[in-house]
Symmetry: C2
């Protein structure tokens, strides 16, 4: 094996990738659109299967041993392997091919008809999963093509693990990985998901927050009642829910639920320094998002991402606007999302919220309440625990393999932003347990890609940069 100065082959790979994406720009754009046109929501298992089969073929076309890793009742994991004779390391690339649910009426263009549009003078493609997370898959595939076109060969064994159930909380991922431990082990797992820094600089992230949630429904009368004849006598569940939720946070977004911030593992000096060194994009983001203020007692966004969060994803009671009628509604529902940091357990975090609800006089049950339950208890809350939940994971930045990743990304992209954790969630713990490895996250999407909402998009330059980054990582020793 030829020896190289650290970063030199990775830099060559990135240069080859840049030449390749310039030369094949139109055909690559069309290829990406083709992938995005495959519907990939959890409600459509047939569509998810078509995605998986397409990706197996794409891996095989690039010389990988590819297959589906399947268990009944879950979307398959797409798996591929490229063995390198004499390799001492195995690098695993994780991404996911499923997307968040879509509410088509909220989109300017149909979510599965990829549409090119110019934003701030640059082309973007609009479609579900453009940023989250088909961009990463397409970049990994294209990086293989670029290396081959330049006559470059990987130095490590490469493995690809592309999940189909990430947006549903990865309920079966650990089970599937466990059943194929020999296939999916690696010296490092590269998690290719999420957005790069808001400044546009390439990010390397060493962990992800955990995620859990609760759905809370509270009750008024058995059916909607005339607000004139019964209002302010029959309890209003929208008001009850408002009062319950209002007590969970102060006006600055600080969570008031007892023990909510207990047990948090402190950041190391290196992690604190990385945050201090990262760009401060807060003022730009406030402007971009039309925010007249932010929560968090003046803390920076990056600091807040290293704390647990509680967020109302949605709230509903009866109808609003032109469809509103003069009723005391029968029920009111809110969905809560909670992010966790290292040191917290998602079951315990759920329980803190449930304890809080009980402390407010609610009889909390795990099923839709019966007539008897509603009549016998002054306040009833049906709480559904999100079971597809997981805890936070953080890889120390000073591990040798972590340092190799930093070197490869720097070789491809120059200055990078190092972050202890991302705000979003990836089931890193399940991966680390099953693959007996550590994880480092290298995202490629633009931060303003509208992931998880309508009009998701990818800035195409992020895709081309991402191909370079992936080529460098595929060239790691």
């Amino acid at each position: 094996m030829v020896s190289h100065a650290q970063g030199q082959p990775e830099q060559a790979a990135a240069t080859a990738a840049a030449a390749y994406t310039r030369a094949h720009n139109a055909e690559l754009t069309a290829g990406f659109e083709h992938l995005l046109a495959l519907p990939n929501v959890a409600a459509d298992p047939v569509g998810l299967r078509a995605n998986a089969q397409y990706l197996v073929a794409a891996l095989q076309q690039r010389g990988a041993q590819a297959q589906l890793l399947s268990i009944p009742g879950a979307p398959s994991v797409v798996y591929g392997e490229i063995l390198t004779p004499g390799a001492t390391h195995t690098i695993v690339f994780y991404a996911h091919y499923d997307g968040q649910p879509v509410t088509a009426s909220e989109w300017a263009t149909p979510p599965f008809q990829p549409t090119l549009e110019t934003v701030n003078g640059e082309p973007r493609v609009f479609a579900r999963s453009a940023g989250d997370d088909k961009a990463a898959i397409f970049a990994q595939l294209t990086a293989l093509d670029a290396l081959r076109a330049a006559g470059l060969k990987p130095r490590a064994n490469l493995r690809f693990v592309w999940e189909g159930e990430e947006e549903a909380g990865s309920p079966h991922l650990e089970q599937i990985l466990d059943a194929h431990r020999e296939l999916i082990h690696g010296n490092i797992w590269m998690i290719c998901d999420g957005p790069v820094d808001q400044s546009g600089r390439q990010t390397v992230v060493f962990g992800a927050r955990g995620d859990t949630g609760l759905q809370i429904t509270v009750y008024g009368p058995e059916h909607g009642l005339h607000s004139g004849h019964y209002g302010n006598w029959a309890p209003n569940p929208a008001m009850m829910l408002a009062q319950l939720l209002a007590g969970m946070e102060d006006a600055d977004g600080h969570v008031l639920i007892p023990h909510f911030y207990d047990g948090i593992a402190p950041l190391s000096a290196m992690e604190k320094q990385a945050i201090a060194d990262a760009p401060n994009n807060d003022a730009m983001l406030r402007q971009k998002f039309w925010l007249g203020r932010t929560d968090g007692d003046g803390k920076r966004l990056l600091e807040l991402l290293n704390l647990p969060s509680l967020n109302i994803n949605g709230m509903a009671s009866a109808q609003v606007g032109a469809r509103a009628t003069n009723v005391v509604p029968s029920m009111a529902t809110a969905n809560l999302d909670m992010r966790l940091v290292v040191g917290e357990d998602w079951r315990a975090q759920q329980q803190k919220v449930i304890d809080f609800i009980q402390s407010r006089g609610y009889f909390v049950i795990d099923h839709e309440p019966t007539e008897a339950e509603r009549t016998e208890h002054p306040r009833v809350a049906w709480v559904v625990r999100e079971t597809n939940s997981y805890n936070a994971v953080r890889t120390p930045m000073d591990l040798p393999m972590a340092q190799e990743v930093i070197a490869a990304v720097r070789a491809a992209r120059g200055e990078v932003v190092l972050l202890p954790t991302m705000g979003g969630s990836v089931p890193l713990g399940a991966m680390e347990r099953a693959a007996d490895t550590r994880t480092v996250t290298v995202p490629i999407a633009n931060f303003d890609d509208n992931q998880h909402t309508a009009n998701e998009n990818l800035r195409l330059q992020n895709l081309w940069d991402g191909v370079g980054t992936m080529a460098a990582l595929e060239m790691m020793p």
Copy 2:
């Protein structure tokens, strides 16, 4: 003119009505269903016009001079008159032929396909406006048929004023009535709307609460943001709305908005006595509505109906349930309904709520906020004032004409419940001003008719009893 003991002709009329509805039960039920099958929502002006034309014809068939009273851009008032030679009084019967909006998916049977079902062993017809308020119109028409079949002639002049815009807040009623003051004047207006007492006993009501409302929208980021990447930094509008609404009431439903209860005209001794004498149905209602508690510091429902109210009609932010996604929503909206009692003005009551919102740090505007407004102000609330609003009205129970009404209803139905006000709202003030008269309300619907919500229905026995009540009133001196 033959002289009668007070109540005797009214009793004869009610007896004739009972015989008539027994003899023609099936054909009357079919006729009522035919009327209910005519769609009558504000969003469908063509449907409303068909209702109005049908009702003009129905009046003409019964010997009335009938016509539409119209102004551009509003549903017509259906007007009819039956003159009685030698009459010294004119009695005006008000009802409305329009219905609340429908959300068809919430109905067990289609709202405009009237369906007979047995509830508690008795037949009911399910359709929009079955109780609110076509029952009253059909009872008034059928009472005329019953009188004619028994050879009985009215003693007063009878006038019928059936509105087509009540559920939209009667925005044009006063204007239409003002343009036809000579047609619509009467010694008393009988308001035939709303439900009878929950005990099933016939009610006579001497007023109605006023009604107004507000729509409040508060703002977070310009579009939904990923809750992991931005939650607890980007303000959550659902939480903001919850905190804003939560501060408007205490846990017992007592409104905390400053001055909300100011200026209320006290009840007279006779009115207080009437409330004390009325059935206490609270325990039965709690059971029926599956309520484990009620708001109002233990006050009776009838007492609370003589206070102003604030009710959340609906509340929404992003999506809940299976459609919930992990976002910081962009906005949150609530619709509020406020009932007023005598002594309060609806514009002032709206202003109290707006002042409260401002006191919570909101920049309150009357239009959808611009980017600049959202960026410049820490908290922005778009508040839409309900302009189709009106104040409360109460007729003294001891007026001679009020006493005549009580006597007629007692002659038809025996013991009656006398109430100073109904909880619901009818634009009585507009009627009283335009017709230079006083109003007394005689409802006929069952209290559990689901008016204003899905699965509205009428207990048919209430219809037959209502025909008797209307026949007695049509026979008043």
